[in-house]
């Protein structure tokens, strides 16, 4: 099967007077058609920077020292800005973190949606208006929302407006960064189920980036776990939750509080700094299974069984 998106050895660094912050430091993965691909990790692991890198939204002092982002056979990193613009929104939609707060407070919802659609398609205003209205309906919002201003809507409703706009042009791939942060649990469930529907009802491919493992468990098909600028493990959502292999994934899963769970554990130590990643395996200072080799040689990510990738010397 040909992937929709191939990320090859992508690095995103930020220049500083102390040296480079190596936020994303050599990440590779494939995303296939019609799947929800989850990217999980704690704050500072580089997951949002990874998304910015994929979409080429990195601005100085950030830069991309190496890597390829192949979307439908084309390397987005090499594409002229004009060509990239044609792909964004039409084929590749992005719901950034906190997007619901980026709506213009003095413009009615409908106008904002129409502007975005007209800007990125060949439609005229009338066609765009019709599309905007039908999209609001698709995400379960009543039609009067079109004439409203953002402050009249709740957070979850704004988030649905953003998703409705993002998917209006029926993109092949939708990337959502922390789509449910700051939403109440009940609304969060609604938004997560809406994202899942993008795959099931529209056949889109969805990448969801979140720190919330429980959210991933509910909507993901496959999941990549990031730690310290690297992906440490990739696998089907069932395999990863049932039988995590990387010691970090194991720790992360046993750290999630859940109803009915008597004990949760913590991972001793602290997440390292992107300015100064530990040598060898970046998890070794916190790892209960670390041996000599772990502090010296960085384990490459390897496919150890079909579709299961792990970067750990325990599975070498």
């Amino acid at each position: 099967m040909k992937p929709v998106l191939e990320v090859r050895n992508l690095k995103v660094y930020y220049k500083s007077i102390w040296g480079d912050y190596k936020s994303v430091d050599g990440v590779s993965f494939n995303v296939y058609g019609n799947e929800v691909f989850s990217i999980a990790g704690e704050s500072g692991c580089g997951k949002s920077t990874l998304v910015d890198g994929i979409l080429r939204l990195i601005e100085p002092p950030g830069y991309i020292p190496s890597g390829e982002v192949i979307f439908e056979g084309v390397d987005l990193l090499k594409l002229p800005e004009k060509e990239l613009r044609k792909i964004r929104w039409r084929k590749l939609a992005y719901v950034p973190q906190g997007a619901m707060n980026s709506l213009n407070p003095v413009i009615r919802i409908e106008e904002q949606m129409v502007d975005a659609i007209v800007d990125h398609s060949d439609m005229d205003k009338e066609e765009a208006r019709k599309l905007a209205l039908s999209m609001l309906k698709e995400v379960g919002l009543p039609s009067e929302v079109a004439k409203m201003y953002p402050h009249e809507l709740s957070g979850g409703m704004k988030q649905r407006v953003i998703i409705a706009t993002a998917i209006a042009l029926k993109p092949r791939l939708v990337i959502a960064d922390e789509p449910t942060t700051a939403l109440d649990v009940v609304v969060q469930r609604g938004i997560l189920q809406l994202l899942r529907r993008l795959k099931e009802d529209y056949g889109m491919t969805v990448i969801v980036v979140s720190h919330d493992m429980a959210a991933h468990a509910q909507i993901g098909d496959r999941i990549a776990i990031m730690y310290a600028g690297k992906i440490v493990e990739i696998g089907s959502i069932y395999d990863i939750f049932e039988d995590p292999l990387h010691p970090y994934t194991k720790g992360l899963i046993s750290a999630i509080p859940a109803i009915g769970k008597k004990y949760i554990k913590y991972i001793p130590g602290l997440a390292p700094s992107p300015l100064n990643w530990p040598p060898g395996c970046r998890f070794h200072p916190r790892c209960p299974h670390a041996t000599d080799i772990c502090s010296k040689i960085e384990p490459p990510i390897r496919e150890i069984s079909s579709g299961r990738y792990v970067a750990c010397h325990l599975y070498g």
Partner: protein
């Protein structure tokens, strides 16, 4: 029986929204709507106050800490009203009732080394008689919390991670040894992999020091881990109250049921079965129910009476309360 450690009786807090000086105020918001509950004094307990944004949970914390005054109603600590405590025995009150806030950064002064946070406490509550003794005490409490004094003392707040800053607050608590901790979303800025460490300290304070805690959170998963009792808030009112086990295993109020069924379970084998009808559960921001049950518009069991009257919080079993007409005789 002794007076409860903490008791709120019909506490209401009203905010006026819009317009300077309140002259042009368009509307008032009842952030907290005649709430009563108590935390017993006979044994240390962790009581979780669970509610979504806008439920009034943070306002309750601020009132207990004396940071804002209730519009009506009274808050008692050990049988004495808080306003009296703050007027006559302020220092003593804050020796016994301590806070841990959501953002561990905002409470540090960025110009001072973190040591000062502990030094001030030692000075204020006269915990040590000499500098050496103070230093020894600081090192002791930090070690107890699992922080390395040799790495952290002398540093500035921005040099600490969110988790370290929040755990440093625990060291401060350990120094003060209060009777009651009011913790408002204390783990939301801590990495998931380190949350258990923080929560386990709160539990050990309860077990070893006898410190009770009012744990304020939106997260029922965390509440179910840390708490003995749970109070569920919805739009400024208590809808249900009881021990953790019965609330989680047998929720009575339709709102609690909705909350519990909406929590994502961190297990892909237990996915949500049915799609939630988001249009029916989410109301426009401006809309707030003025009459009847606050949950009426979203409730699948709504009856005629629910539209007209506001259900009061009634006892259904010992220690178990619910505000819903489905359970009134």
């Amino acid at each position: 029986m002794d007076a409860p450690l903490l008791e709120l009786t019909n506490v209401t807090k009203i905010f006026k929204i819009g317009g300077g000086l309140g002259l042009f105020s368009k509307r008032v918001i009842k952030a907290v709507d005649s709430i009563s509950f108590s935390i017993p004094s006979d044994k240390p307990l962790i009581t979780a106050l669970v509610g979504e944004s806008g439920s009034g949970k943070t306002t309750i914390a601020r009132m207990i800490l004396g940071l804002t005054k209730p519009t009506s109603g009274e808050i008692f600590y050990k049988g004495r009203s808080i306003s009296e405590w703050l007027k006559k025995n302020k220092l003593e009150y804050y020796k016994e009732v301590q806070a841990i806030f959501q953002d561990p950064y905002s409470i540090y002064n960025p110009f001072y080394r973190i040591d000062r946070v502990l030094e001030i406490v030692i000075k204020k509550f006269k915990l040590a008689s000499s500098k050496e003794e103070a230093r020894k005490l600081m090192v002791e409490v930090m070690r107890e919390i699992g922080l390395r004094p040799e790495d952290l003392l002398g540093r500035y707040p921005h040099q600490l991670s969110g988790g370290e800053r929040q755990r440093f607050m625990l060291a401060r608590i350990l120094l003060i040894k209060p009777r009651l901790i009011v913790a408002d979303e204390p783990v939301s800025m801590i990495d998931v992999s380190l949350r258990a460490l923080f929560l386990d300290h709160l539990i050990s304070f309860k077990e070893k020091l006898g410190t009770s805690c009012l744990y304020i959170t939106h997260d029922l998963n965390v509440a179910s881990y840390v708490a003995d009792n749970i109070i569920v808030l919805c739009q400024g009112r208590i809808v249900e109250e009881g021990d953790k086990k019965s609330i989680i295993e047998n929720p009575l109020h339709p709102y609690t049921k909705l909350l519990l069924s909406s929590i994502p379970v961190p297990d892909p084998k237990r996915k949500w079965r049915e799609l939630i009808d988001i249009a029916s559960i989410e109301s426009f921001k401006e809309l707030k129910v003025e009459k009847g049950c606050i949950f009426y518009t979203r409730c699948p069991y709504a009856m005629n009476i629910c539209k007209e009257e506001r259900p009061s919080l009634i006892d259904v079993e010992p220690g178990r309360k619910v505000a819903c007409f489905l359970y009134s005789k």
